[in-house]
């Protein structure tokens, strides 16, 4: 027979100690990092909290109830009741009227209460928490902390350098009347108009702590009143009604967000075979295209052209080395091994063709997101553009007979879209640079894409690159000569560099490929995007 208060205290102590051991708070290394200050705080907390709990929960008094283990048969006793167990072995709870139950001594129970509070504090308070508490107090209590208003500084006189570089000539030209203004070399104004400073609501330097605390409390209460006033209720009600009227699009929007519905749907059909590397798998594509080699170097074989196409597409649209990606690879779908007339078939029967290719759901989800975005625009969301075609694109890349770009209009669910087709001749055997593939993929994705001398970093030096070959045959000054490569943009015309694989290894791709990708993305972003 044991008193409930004694049993509860013992069980609580065991539970707390077990939890603290399980969490590793009693590990020697963690105990070692707690300094004496932490232990003092822990002791103080345990003493105060343990005593308060002991006092207000009346733990010092005799238990009103007791627990008893019994195997006796059931008897009718109004002072005892079944608590837990079966018919033969059970624990009963009874009223401890005569004080016959075992209870620990009062002082022992107080010690247990303090011990439990101390163990909890030891687990919860570390050196860092203590430092933060000290820091917070010092921050409020000291007048030089960042929580106080800064002192207004007297405006400093502006130092003027009479020998400021470049100004001497400008002053002379001004004196002679060749220019009408000194510009940045003009004498600076000593007194600048002081900008209006916002009212500082932090603690004033001479403000007592109690006054500051009271002010903060009043501010807090004022804020609460503002959020519970009639105007606030009216505004909330109007807002609710407005949102209620758009409940369906709101629900759909939530569903789209939870289901990670696509923000765009871009499809490319190509007659090239599947390279089989799964680069466009949604879970892996971001990693695959995060960083690609400067140029594609696929081994010869049946999927060589496919690997080149995949590399070029990834470099132009997804790779983040040169610029922010122009699209999310999860929203791009390359359909390998498509028929050469895929775009004609798509235009002839959009729904049937897309369903057969497994693309219809994806396209419809994007169109639904577009409509939902339009519906929600009246609630303050960004309004999507009038035309949804930048978010749903269809392209066909065909390597084989013929050359040129064609666009076929089509309509799906009442939305006018287009299927763009580009036909190019296959790369010549032994190609090492595939510059023409960059141009082809660029023109396929961005209608009217053009990269010319005026857009190149090589500028006008490019024209004189033809005679450079001889310079790179020299036996000396090999490092310095490489600067001349900066004047050759292989994406305009690789010329003789095609036959110098050694120079292609040290070619300044970071200059020319970066520029090419940036130029392409600027043009591409005007035509395609995501919601």
């Amino acid at each position: 027979m044991i008193g409930t208060k004694t049993l509860a205290l013992l069980l609580l102590l065991v539970a707390v100690v077990a939890a603290v051991i399980a969490l590793g708070s009693f590990a020697p290394d963690r105990l070692a990092v707690r300094g004496p200050a932490t232990l003092l705080v822990v002791g103080g907390f345990g003493l105060v909290t343990g005593t308060v709990v002991f006092r207000f929960l009346h733990l010092g008094e005799q238990s009103r109830h007791y627990f008893r283990w019994t195997t006796e048969s059931f008897t009718w006793d109004v002072s005892e009741a079944h608590f837990v167990g079966g018919r033969r072995r059970r624990v009963v709870i009874g009223e401890n009227r005569d004080g016959e139950a075992f209870d620990l001594a009062r002082s022992t129970r107080l010690a247990l209460s303090i011990a439990i509070a101390s163990v909890v504090a030891l687990a919860a308070i570390g050196s860092r928490a203590l430092e933060q508490m000290q820091g917070a107090y010092q921050g409020i209590a000291t007048s030089t902390s960042s929580l106080t208003c800064p002192e207004e500084e007297a405006p400093k006189p502006v130092a003027r350098d009479p020998n400021e570089p470049g100004c001497e000539l400008i002053r002379r030209a001004y004196a002679l009347g060749y220019i009408k203004s000194l510009g940045e070399c003009a004498p600076r104004q000593e007194q600048q108009t002081a900008a209006a400073r916002p009212v500082c609501t932090r603690r004033q330097r001479d403000e007592p702590l109690l006054h500051y605390s009271w002010r903060r409390l009043v501010d807090f209460w004022g804020g609460r009143r503002g959020a519970t006033g009639l105007s606030y209720v009216k505004q909330s009600s109007a807002d609710f009604e407005r949102r209620w009227a758009h409940l369906e699009p709101l629900v759909r929007s939530e569903q789209q967000m939870l289901a990670s519905a696509p923000h765009a749907s871009h499809h490319v059909w190509t007659n090239l075979p599947d390279p089989g590397d799964g680069a466009f798998r949604p879970a892996e594509c971001a990693v695959h295209f995060a960083r690609l080699p400067h140029r594609p170097t696929p081994p010869p074989g049946p999927t060589q052209a496919s690997q080149v196409f995949e590399h070029v597409l990834g470099q132009l649209v997804f790779e983040g080395t040169y610029d922010a990606p122009a699209g999310n690879c999860r929203e791009y779908h390359v359909h390998w091994g498509a028929p050469a007339d895929a775009c004609q078939r798509l235009a002839a029967s959009p729904e049937g063709f897309l369903a057969a290719e497994g693309a219809l759901d994806d396209v419809r989800q994007t169109l639904t997101r577009y409509r939902v975005a339009g519906d929600l625009a009246s609630l303050g969301s960004a309004r999507p553009p009038q035309d949804p075609s930048p978010f749903v694109t269809f392209h066909c890349y065909v390597e084989g007979q013929g050359a040129g770009r064609a666009s076929v209009p089509l309509s799906l669910d009442g939305v006018r879209l287009a299927a763009d087709e580009l036909r190019v001749a296959p790369s010549a055997p032994g190609t090492v640079l595939y510059v023409d593939r960059y141009d082809a993929v660029g023109r396929l994705l961005a209608n009217g894409f053009h990269y010319g001398h005026l857009l190149s970093e090589a500028g006008l030096d490019e024209g004189s690159a033809a005679g450079l070959e001889a310079s790179f045959a020299g036996p000396d000054m090999l490092v310095t000569r490489l600067y001349e490569l900066e004047g050759i943009d292989i994406y305009l015309d690789p010329g003789w560099l095609l036959h110098r694989p050694d120079l292609l290894e040290v070619y300044p791709y970071e200059r020319h490929l970066r520029n090419y990708v940036q130029v392409f993305r600027r043009q591409y972003r005007r035509q395609a995007g995501r919601l």
Binding site: D161, N163, E164, P165, G166, T321, Y322, L460, D461, S464, L468, S471, F472, A473, G474, P475, D476, M477, L478, V479, T480, R481, L482, Y483, E484, E486, G487, R500, P501, D502, L503, E505, V506, P508, Y509, E510, R511, R514
Partner: protein, 194 residues
């Protein structure tokens, strides 16, 4: 007829051999050898002579070779450096190798300190030449530290040369420094700080 066919075949074989043996001084092994020679030349050349060559190259870049076209500027500096080494009173076999690194460093200046940063330094400092030199050393030192962190422990000069070649080819996107800028800066800085 048979003789003619045999002759034609022999000629085409010779021509093919000639084509395959065209000089390729920028192959991987040749690049590493070039860097290794440069490391050795910089280490073995006395500091005052190196300083003299730096001043010479800077004077050329600002004066006789200050062309608007980058290609003309580079060609001019190459010819002037070759001439400088040819006209030395005492022949120095390391001259062209050290001049290669020195001239490359001069050309690297504007790549290491971008134009907007250069303007800011010039406007902020009365003695802007010293400030620019300090900034240059800071960027070069940063590059050297990054190289050391990337490359790890390298034993010997040839390993170091191979490491520099690898690093400069691989990190051009992040550092935005062209290969020659990276190589000459590392060869100069690493040797200097030994």
């Amino acid at each position: 007829m048979t003789r003619a066919v045999v002759l034609l075949a022999a000629l085409s074989t010779v021509a093919a051999d000639g084509a395959s043996q065209a000089p390729t001084p920028y192959r991987a092994d040749a690049r590493v050898a070039t860097i290794e020679h440069a490391l050795a030349a910089i280490a073995e050349t006395p500091a005052p002579i190196l300083q003299q060559r730096v001043e010479r190259a800077r004077a050329l870049a600002r004066g006789a070779c200050s062309a608007g076209s980058e290609r003309l500027r580079v060609e001019c500096l190459i010819v002037a450096a070759q001439r400088h080494c040819r006209e030395l009173p005492a022949p120095d076999t390391r001259c062209l190798v050290t001049m290669d690194i020195v001239v490359s460093n001069v050309l690297a200046d504007e790549r290491l300190i971008p134009l907007d940063r250069r303007y800011a330094i010039v406007r902020a400092n009365a003695d802007y030449r010293a400030a620019l030199a300090a900034e240059l050393r800071r960027v070069q030192a940063e590059l050297a530290v990054d190289f050391r962190l990337h490359a790890g422990r390298l034993e010997g000069r040839s390993d170091l040369a191979a490491g520099i070649d690898r690093y400069c080819r691989a990190t051009a996107e992040e550092t935005r420094f062209p290969y020659p800028t990276c190589v000459s800066s590392l060869v100069w800085t690493i040797d200097e700080t030994k």
